[in-house]
């Protein structure tokens, strides 16, 4: 193999149509253009599995936003997200020949990336610490119950950037479960398996994450009114 065919920037594939939210399976609404794109991606995938580096670069272009966004949301740190995205694609390159199509490729790559991130967090002990913290009785400053608070409610819509910022500010354990469940669409039993915790723990952390986000999001309008 030679890398001389690598360009400075990977070739841009045809953009995928916006089909709303995709499940981890990456299966959007079936349509003729979507089917054509899937067929084109399958061809690119087969070429990459055969060692074609241009095809691998196209796969990178196809999936880089999703993988980088996933990493960024999980760790909430730009430098770490870049490193983890790189590691995910290096692992993809090592393992791509083992992909047999039992699931959608995007699902497989998504899980591979989550495993890369979780391995990284375990090395830093972040997951364990956060899980334990989340099981502790709520201390002052943690997501509060609502029975003593003012009756402020969120408006019907939440600004995307404000929500992204609030998610990024969540403690790591809360953030992981929130990202995996509410953003990426995984079920609690899948998250429990990934994080090696109980389903009840996953549910509890998600609930606490949403409560903490509610607290954070209710503060933003008051701050910005000043």
């Amino acid at each position: 193999m030679t890398y001389s065919r690598f360009s400075t920037n990977p070739p841009e594939p045809t953009p995928r149509p916006s089909a709303g939210r995709q499940s981890p399976a990456g299966q959007g609404v079936a349509s003729a253009p979507a089917a054509l794109l899937r067929s084109a991606e399958a061809e690119i995938l087969a070429q990459a599995q055969a060692g074609d580096h241009i095809a691998f670069a196209k796969l990178y272009s196809l999936h880089k936003r999703r993988i980088y966004s996933l990493c960024l949301r999980m760790v909430s740190n730009v430098a770490e997200a870049e490193d983890l995205t790189q590691e995910a694609f290096l692992q993809l390159h090592r393992k791509i020949a083992t992909f047999r199509g039992d699931s959608a490729f995007s699902t497989w790559l998504h899980r591979l990336t989550i495993n890369v991130v979780l391995m990284h967090l375990r090395k830093k002990d972040l997951t364990v610490i956060s899980m334990d913290e989340a099981m502790e009785p709520a201390p002052e400053g943690s997501p509060g119950r609502s029975f003593g608070s003012r009756d402020l409610t969120l408006s019907g819509s939440i600004d995307r950037l404000v929500l992204e910022r609030a998610v990024g500010d969540l403690p790591a354990g809360y953030r992981l479960v929130f990202v995996l469940h509410d953003i990426e669409g995984y079920e609690h039993h899948e998250i429990a398996s990934m994080l090696d915790c109980s389903i009840g723990n996953s549910k509890s952390q998600l609930h606490k994450a949403r409560l903490k986000l509610r607290d954070a999001l209710r503060v933003f309008p008051r701050q910005e009114e000043r």
Binding site: R65, Y68, L70, L90, R160, K203, R214
Partner: protein, 89 residues
């Protein structure tokens, strides 16, 4: 002073809320919510947050240099896996 709902306190209801939400049951007719505007608002907020999260798309573009780093690392892996003896081929 807020009116105390009948049958279940807010504290009791909110202690169960995580399980109630994840059960997927329709909570609209839950007795506590019939009489408690504060817990109704809380539930509405949590649903709004979950719905907003579902609308977040993977729109963040990684820096262009990232591909160059990956490409460079791939070259290094390739050359190290090829081994020194194959360089004479």
């Amino acid at each position: 002073m807020t009116e105390e709902p009948i049958g279940m306190t807010c504290e009791q209801f909110q202690a169960q809320l995580s399980d109630l939400i994840s059960s997927g049951d329709n909570l609209a007719n839950h007795p506590h919510l019939q009489s408690c505007s504060r817990c109704s608002a809380l539930l509405a907020d949590l649903r709004t947050i979950a719905e907003a999260a579902r609308q977040l798309l993977p729109v963040v573009e990684p820096p262009d240099e990232l591909w160059e780093h990956i490409e460079s690392a791939l070259k290094q892996e390739e050359s190290s896996s090829r081994g020194p003896d194959q360089t004479h081929l």
